[in-house]
Symmetry: C2
Subunit: 567 residues, 2 copies
């Protein structure tokens, strides 16, 4: 109820949206960052004639698209919200798409709660939106003073919000959020402001219009005691309909595309998989005009800089703000772009809630995590991802890939560009030998038997494939499986190996939990196969040191594999 006046004016006069054709490229985007205000959003759909009274009353019932918090099951919702502080960074991504990629005049409107501005991600969004001069983005702050549990830190001190917004380079307008003329003027001013985004900071009253709850604590997310009386107080049953303006016509800009000419690496040469990622991504970008890259200020390490150099118009620097980076990726894919977001694998953990929510948004994004595991060496554990495969496997719709060589990396990058859902590729800092030819194929869900053997099977991925090969040289009858696709995993090949060799050693540069080892066990269990099993993984907090020293110290090198096999 605090935001009803704000949204009424938006719907009646400013939003340009064809509810019959939500895919219209010129449609404005509306994001309810305060997803718990879903009743207001759904009432807007009802007023716009998009849904019926009957459908509105299916709210929160199983099989209704009108869930407790909005998700893209609803045709007019682009992104899921409900984890706070995400709407504005998501809207920033959409606004980047509009201004720099689509080059269409649509506007992105984001309704934010005041409580959620405590999330740092909101200020990441402020800084990036200002940096990218997103004058097509308007944030609407519903300053109703009350969070779920009590007052916010700033209550109705609108000047605090204004000072922060201005300090981050935004145009800010303070209004009474229940004065419809003031709202109208503010939106007019926002749409007329160029070169920077605008925030409308509206002083509102929680529960506005119903005295029993107005500005009172203890009513967050609770039904009214007397809803009939509240309806009377609000003016009685009405049947308000709104003619929503349709957007102008227009077609999105299209970037040129050509032939796919993947880099080709010679067998036996030494190349870092992160380098191959950058080179392959640049090649995919040349073949597909819809491919876009973002990076978190480490493009010279992730090699996203190779893409940037090749396709500067489709590269967006996200600086050290991984939450905004993930959100931008999700916002960009709303408009159909295939976004690759890269950072050190360890630092995607900063955006884990955004990745989780991306899955609820039914988003398609690709993540690249470089510098995985202890093989990075001297920089130490803060830079070593050892939980990333576990975290990313436990995301709905995810694909988790970990190539061991450059040609494999290149092929997997191509595959990722056509995968649905959240895909993740884990790459390595050090150079590794190229073991596959450039024309080898690597299906998602597949694996490669690199050595045949009948006595024991060694399963690795990434750096440990090379250790497994070295170990196999010292053993008789060792089969080596390169399990580059961790999710989905090649259960049939693993089951056959378990049956045929009776012994499996899985070795991974990752904590023991939730990574390759447990993925293999789950696959074997599903196949109904069991065998002797040894699991080599990083079990102590690693230190700084040379990569080889660390692989030895933490028991995932060739010597450790040989020892495990002999045991």
């Amino acid at each position: 109820m605090s935001a009803a006046d704000l949204m009424s004016v938006l719907l009646a006069k400013y939003l340009r949206y064809d509810f019959d054709a939500p895919d219209t490229p010129t449609n404005d985007r509306l994001v309810f960052s305060k997803g718990h205000a879903s009743t207001l959003l759904y009432a807007m759909f009802r007023a716009a004639g998009a849904i019926s009274d009957e459908e509105l009353l299916t709210y929160r019932q199983l099989d209704s698209m009108l869930e407790g918090h909005p998700t893209p099951l609803i045709p007019w919702v682009d992104v899921a919200t409900g984890s706070l502080g995400q709407g504005l960074p998501l809207g920033g991504g959409m606004a980047i798409a509009g201004k720099y990629l689509d080059r269409l005049p649509y506007r992105v409107w984001v309704l934010c709660g005041d409580s959620e501005t405590a999330e740092g991600s909101v200020w990441e969004a402020f800084q990036h939106a200002s940096h990218y001069e997103l004058d097509n983005l308007t944030a609407i702050f519903d300053i109703n003073r009350l969070g779920q549990r009590g007052p916010t830190m700033d209550e109705w001190q609108l000047d605090h919000y204004r000072a922060r917004a201005e300090a981050f380079g935004w145009h800010a307008i303070e209004i009474d959020g229940h004065d419809v003329e003031a709202i109208d003027e503010a939106y007019a001013e926002a749409t007329a402001t160029t070169g920077r985004p605008t925030v409308v900071i509206a002083r509102t009253i929680k529960g506005k219009g119903v005295k029993a709850v107005e500005n009172k604590e203890g009513w967050h997310g609770k039904p009214l005691d007397d809803p009939e009386a509240a309806i009377e107080e609000l003016g009685g049953l009405r049947n308000i309909t709104v003619d929503v303006a349709t957007p102008p016509t227009g077609d999105p800009h299209r970037f040129e595309a050509g032939r796919l000419e993947l880099p080709r690496y010679e067998i036996g040469s030494e190349v870092a998989t992160r380098k191959a990622y950058g080179e392959a991504l640049a090649a995919v970008g040349s073949a597909r005009g819809d491919v876009v890259a973002v990076d978190g200020e480490v493009s010279n390490s992730t090699f996203a800089e190779i893409f940037k150099e090749a396709h500067p118009e489709r590269y967006f620097e996200m600086y050290i703000a991984e939450q905004q980076m993930a959100a931008a990726a999700v916002g960009l894919q709303v408009r159909g772009y295939r976004v690759f977001a890269s950072s050190f694998a360890a630092f995607h953990s900063r955006a884990y809630d955004f990745i989780r929510m991306a899955a609820i948004s039914r988003a398609t994004i690709s993540l690249s995590g470089s510098h995985a595991g202890i093989s990075i060496g001297e920089d130490g554990p803060s830079q070593m991802a050892l939980e990333d495969m576990a975290a990313l496997r436990a995301v709905h719709s995810s694909t988790v890939l970990h190539p061991c060589d450059a040609n494999q990396t290149a092929q997997l990058v191509v595959a990722m560009a056509s995968l649905d859902g959240i895909s993740y590729i884990r790459t390595l800092r050090p150079n590794t030998p190229v073991v596959y030819g450039p024309d080898e194929e690597f299906p998602i869900g597949g694996s490669k038997v690199l050595r045949n053997g009948e006595e024991v099977t060694i399963v690795g991925c990434g750096i440990t494939v090379h250790e497994a090969l070295k170990a196999a040289d010292q053993l008789d009858g060792a089969r080596v499986i390169d399990c580059y696709s961790i999710k989905p995993i090649d259960g049939a090949t693993l089951a056959a190996a378990a049956r045929e060799t009776g012994k499996l050693v899985v070795v991974e540069d990752h904590w023991p939990e939730g990574g390759l080892g447990e993925a293999v066990l789950a696959a074997l269990a599903e196949q109904g196969v069991s065998c002797e099993f040894r699991h080599l993984a990083v079990r102590e907090m690693p230190r700084s040191g040379k990569p080889d020293e660390l692989l030895a110290r933490y028991g995932i090198d060739a010597a450790a594999i040989v020892k495990a096999v002999r045991h």
Copy 2:
């Protein structure tokens, strides 16, 4: 080199620290948020006489405590850094400890890079430090204009930083970071400022003093081409030593402690485990003066509010800022407090990088995640943690617990208060029947056989224990194991069940990856036992609906268990 002058003045005149006795409660705290400046920090230790030249030269060698980024393996380092944007929120936690708990006059100094201010967590720290009036906290911004890959968004526009800091309620001082008198004056002003924290915003030059690299791109984290010439240019080999001021004497405040009187719940009554968490935590807080609670603006849902009411001096509201909440917990534990940080289980994912880093800090913190899984019902998937067990299992030093009833919850909360490392308790929104008596014991790493049977074993945790019991009522010879300790897990009991019943059905309210099912498989593999295995978990993106409807729809209710067993 950009921050060397800033740190020289600090070490020579302002820092009060007894390097011979790092545990002195009145010691100032120094946090290098830009952990990649570790060479500067270690040089300070050398200048202070804490380490020798020989030890300094072990930098980044295996077994040296002088890792690539600082960790608490070093006695004078409280927290690990290296994931950027974490030092200031961590320092905020230490400053809260100083001002509100220890009540000692120590000061917290945090050196931040400019690049890392793009992280939203920095602005969470700004807002919270101002809200808590942390005048014992000083941030030092080393504005050297250059990140790893190129210029920052704001370069040398110091007024941008100043406006933001002031807008968040801080005192801000702009200086030339190579003017030692200006630095001196700024620190004097910072220490004299009351009621709010101060940030010293210092314009500096990356590579200051060595013309070959000064203010040049492409030199981040790289060794110099000619280090000998650089030493000459910097003034030649010297042997600078600094007498660091020792802190005043003083003892921390101690909070009263009494007897532990845990809540007791009657078998058969219906209580939400989240409620039992709040009640137990309040009781533990009465028994132990070192127990502290923080919550992310959902204390009326997590029931941390019960602790807050009982121990208001030891409760700190962290609003909707889960990164700051986790960082505050880590900062507080530096001073020995046992911190319980609560939010919805889903929203700890927002702080996953902080939790990962907490493990590298060798921190002891307890996390409580309520509203886990689809059993929350209508609020929908954004509020349902379905990845939390996977994520938290893949944290070094972690313990993962998931009680199914109120008495079990209470006992586990007591146990958590004495556990080392990162402990996590997962609680439920709905009421569940009390199945254990109040004096039952629940060792960490244990499990409970709730029903004996020889035909099949059903393994659950949390809500699925109750579904397993209902299923067992419809089956002959079903053993039911309540696997409340997911990490460490009771491998012996599970192995015995596998051997004795030959069939295991694991059922969990979680994605299939990385949770209870895979933990059980890993335990069986380690025990060298195998059996028929079925795994029931949430395999589709859930919708809004009633809890019972959802448990049925997604195949983790009693009927699904019965079906799996019969299959």
